[in-house]
Amino acid sequence: MPISPVLASYSDLAYGTALVLYLLAMALHSVEYAARVPVPAIAAGADGSVAMLVRGRPERTGRSAVALTGLAALVHAGSLALRGAAIGRVPWANMYEFISAICFVAVAGWLVVLYRQRAAAASLQRLGGFVLLPVVVLMFLGGTVLYARAQPLIPALNSYWITIHVSAAITATGILLVSGVASVLYLVGASAGSRITARLPDSATLDRLAYRTAVIALPIWTFAIITGAIWAEAAWGRYWGWDPKETCALVAWVVYAGYLHARATAGWRGRGAAWINVTGFGVMLFNLFFVNIVIAGFHSYAGV
């Protein structure tokens, strides 16, 4: 399958554009956030209409930020599609492509959350900047240090399992990113009573966001591990070989199982569970960066 350099360069252009748009959306979100009257003040406003007046402007800014995020996500999707068209396969076989797709899932997942929680969107949407922050950082790293030009697949990766297994891994990771952000904010909000954290949604909302996203992601992650094992059986002659990448994926899975357990264990519900969730995402990131780059295993030929 020949590579189309023209399409690939359009894909790169769209990637850069999406990154810039995310940055702008993040900037708008910070304007919104800064302009927010801390929650207690709103609560104090007995008269609803006054509260509406005070609330109106930052909320509109926030809505524009969300709209801009949506636009950026469309451009981002375009970048992925063009990359796929340029190489004639799903575009996730190296870290650049992988990170781009994860960020896209995180943003798309975030927009879905906002849509499904329309009723609470006003309080949720101000988290937008915090969700976009890791996305922007990851995409910046992906577009610079980790950038890889469009290439065909090496034979070991050339299988329809790459579509299934890696898509699942990407989807789960993207959703878990949103979950991780919610738990980090939960911990930050619960620890410091500063002016900044006072504008966060209440901790029950954050906790619910973290839980609902994790609960969607965990079966997908389980599916990713199982399909990975099926693929490994076909490609490497064993379904499980304690390769560092496999091991780390399992460790992350066990940590997330611990998260769900913690939520059912007395004394571990709030902060304890949130810490475990954050640890889980830490292991996911570790698996993505450290294991790919530093530890050589079978998976290392996925290419940095």
């Binding site: 090496i154 070991a156 909302t205 079966p219 379904y239 357990h261």
Partner: protein, 529 residues
């Protein structure tokens, strides 16, 4: 149980502690932490060379780590202790829960609480319909729920409804399937084996006759190698496709094979073996895991006798397939051992499929054999290969060189057909090159079970995370000031996420428009345990 004696009391407390959620959480945590060194440190089963180089770099730390099993974490006793305890805890936790669940399935939903207003979800309204009609419409609306109708002493009628029993079933399925998964995994490790073998792609054969047929063989604990599934493969050719940049696009080996049933009849089947696409014969699978080049040399001895040899050389640069190796010759017709051991030959050096010379230094610029060449040293003397010690086929015994018993007698770069002449008029010709494939044979009869249990794990997880166990109560009291009073209450028994919306929908269907409904306080604790 009345007066327990102290021993059983201790045992019972230990068991309770072991099967508590807190212990499960700790053990899960330990499992995660314990597995990490298996990913971070080099491991013997994966890569023994890297373990040795790590040990060389960390002379103080490494012996301690080694003694603690950190270079083979997944076979270490402490790791086994963690997961065995975890699984004992799991069984101890899940079996009683399964019994409890079976009991619950037969029980009616619990009676309606006296004060529905105290529940996290609550609504109320007054109708001028009769209590019977309202109960009937509630019954219709709650179809799909498990319901029990009761009458209270004061004349009120109630419906208790419960739904989402599959959640617990999913959770139990999930945990029990984990046990099945672990057991199948262990059985596979016990009775399975893996072996690697290199076969020249020139019609050479490999038959699965026993461990000795392999270059390396890793048996499960209960495998003695006497009962391997019999089959033979013949490698007729190997083709690789590379992009102009040298990146590999495709590898395939043309095989013929005889499965266990064909050996008697002598039938051969053709098969294209590809990466990602093993040859499967029952529980035995054959994989294409590598390839390389085997240069062919012909030596013409001074007396005119000729010997040819094709031996695989090991790829040292995967990108260009620059390979390195040694091809060894015994002088023909020399019966005296001492004499033979002064005249053995070793051709050692580099092979490049597409030669690129810098000066006379050989490197390779492309992995396909476009312009093959070798850069060789010829050594003569005692190879040391009948000293009883095993010797690598890829290299010479350096101690023979150091002790002067094996001496370099020529050095040259050759292309196919070219030859060099040694001082004693022996001629060494580089004839050309044959490709080889490295095959892996894997056998694991428990594999389908592992997959089956893994799928049950997934299904159980999906069920238990998407289904909510929830309760709904209706109390209909006739003779309120404005007619019949209807009170509704709802409680999610597990993670609350999302019951509110469903409760509201049902309440809206059951109550007249505009019925009073106190808003649900945000973040109210809904989980009852």
């Amino acid at each position: 149980m009345t007066q327990a004696n102290p021993v059983t009391a201790v045992l019972r407390n230990t068991w309770r502690g072991l099967t508590s959620m807190r212990t499960a959480l700790m053990l899960l945590f330990l499992l995660a932490v314990g597995a990490l060194p298996g990913a971070l440190l080099p491991q013997y089963p994966l890569n023994p060379q890297r373990v040795r180089s790590y040990q060389a770099q960390h002379p103080v730390l490494a012996p301690i780590l080694d003694r603690l099993g950190f270079f083979d974490v997944f076979a270490s006793p402490w790791f086994a202790a963690i997961y065995l305890l975890l699984f004992v805890s799991l069984i101890g936790c899940v079996l009683p829960r399964s019994l409890e669940y079976a009991r619950q399935l037969r029980k009616e939903p619990v009676a309606t609480p006296r004060n529905l207003g105290r529940l996290p979800h609550h609504a109320r309204g007054e109708f001028d319909q009769s209590a019977g009609e309202i109960i009937a419409s509630a019954r219709r609306r709650l179809s799909g729920w498990r319901i029990a109708e009761r009458e209270e002493p004061g004349g009120a009628r109630t419906i208790s409804a419960e739904r989402g029993y599959l959640r617990e079933a999913g959770n139990l399925m999930f945990h029990l399937a984990l046990v099945g998964l672990l057991v199948s995994f262990a059985i596979g490790k016990l009775v399975g084996y893996q072996g690697q073998v290199i076969v020249l792609a020139n019609g050479s054969q490999f038959c699965n006759s026993g461990p000795l047929a392999y270059d390396s063989f890793t048996p499960g604990r209960s495998v003695d190698g006497t009962a391997l599934t019999p089959f033979c493969v013949q490698v007729n050719g190997f083709t690789s496709t590379y992009l102009p940049t040298g990146e590999a696009e495709d590898f395939r080996a043309a095989l013929s094979y005889q499965g266990p049933d064909d050996l008697a009849t002598g039938t051969w089947h053709p098969y294209q073996l590809q990466v990602n696409d093993p040859l499967r014969m029952g529980g035995t699978r054959v994989y294409l895991i590598g390839n390389g080049y085997a240069p062919r040399f012909t030596v013409t001895f001074p007396d005119g006798q000729q010997r040819s040899s094709v031996v695989q050389w090991a790829p040292v640069e995967l990108g260009t397939m620059l390979s390195e190796g040694t091809t060894k010759f015994d002088p023909p017709g020399v019966t005296d051992d001492a004499a033979r051991r002064t005249r053995q030959l070793a051709i050692t050096g580099l092979f490049a499929p597409t030669a690129a010379f810098r000066g006379s230094l050989l490197s390779s610029s492309f992995p396909d054999p476009l312009d093959p060449a070798v850069a060789i040293d010829v050594l003569k003397g005692d190879l040391g290969n009948n000293s009883g010690r095993g010797q690598s086929i890829f290299s010479i015994d350096q101690s023979m060189v150091d002790s002067g018993r094996l001496k370099q007698v020529a050095r040259s770069n050759l292309r196919p057909g070219e030859q060099l002449t040694l001082p004693d008029r022996t001629m060494v010709r580089f004839d050309g090159v044959t490709r080889f494939v490295s095959l892996q044979v894997s056998y694991d009869p428990a594999q389908p079970w592992v997959l089956g249990f893994a799928l049950v794990v997934l299904a159980g997880l999906g069920l238990s995370l998407t289904i909510k166990r929830r309760r709904f109560w209706v109390r209909v009291t006739p003779d309120g000031p404005a007619g019949t009073v209807v009170e509704l209450g709802g409680l999610a028994r597990t993670e609350a996420a999302g019951y509110g919306e469903e409760f509201d929908r049902i309440a809206a269907d059951l109550l007249p428009p505009g019925a009073a409904r106190p808003p649900v306080p945000t973040g109210a604790p809904e989980v009852s345990r």
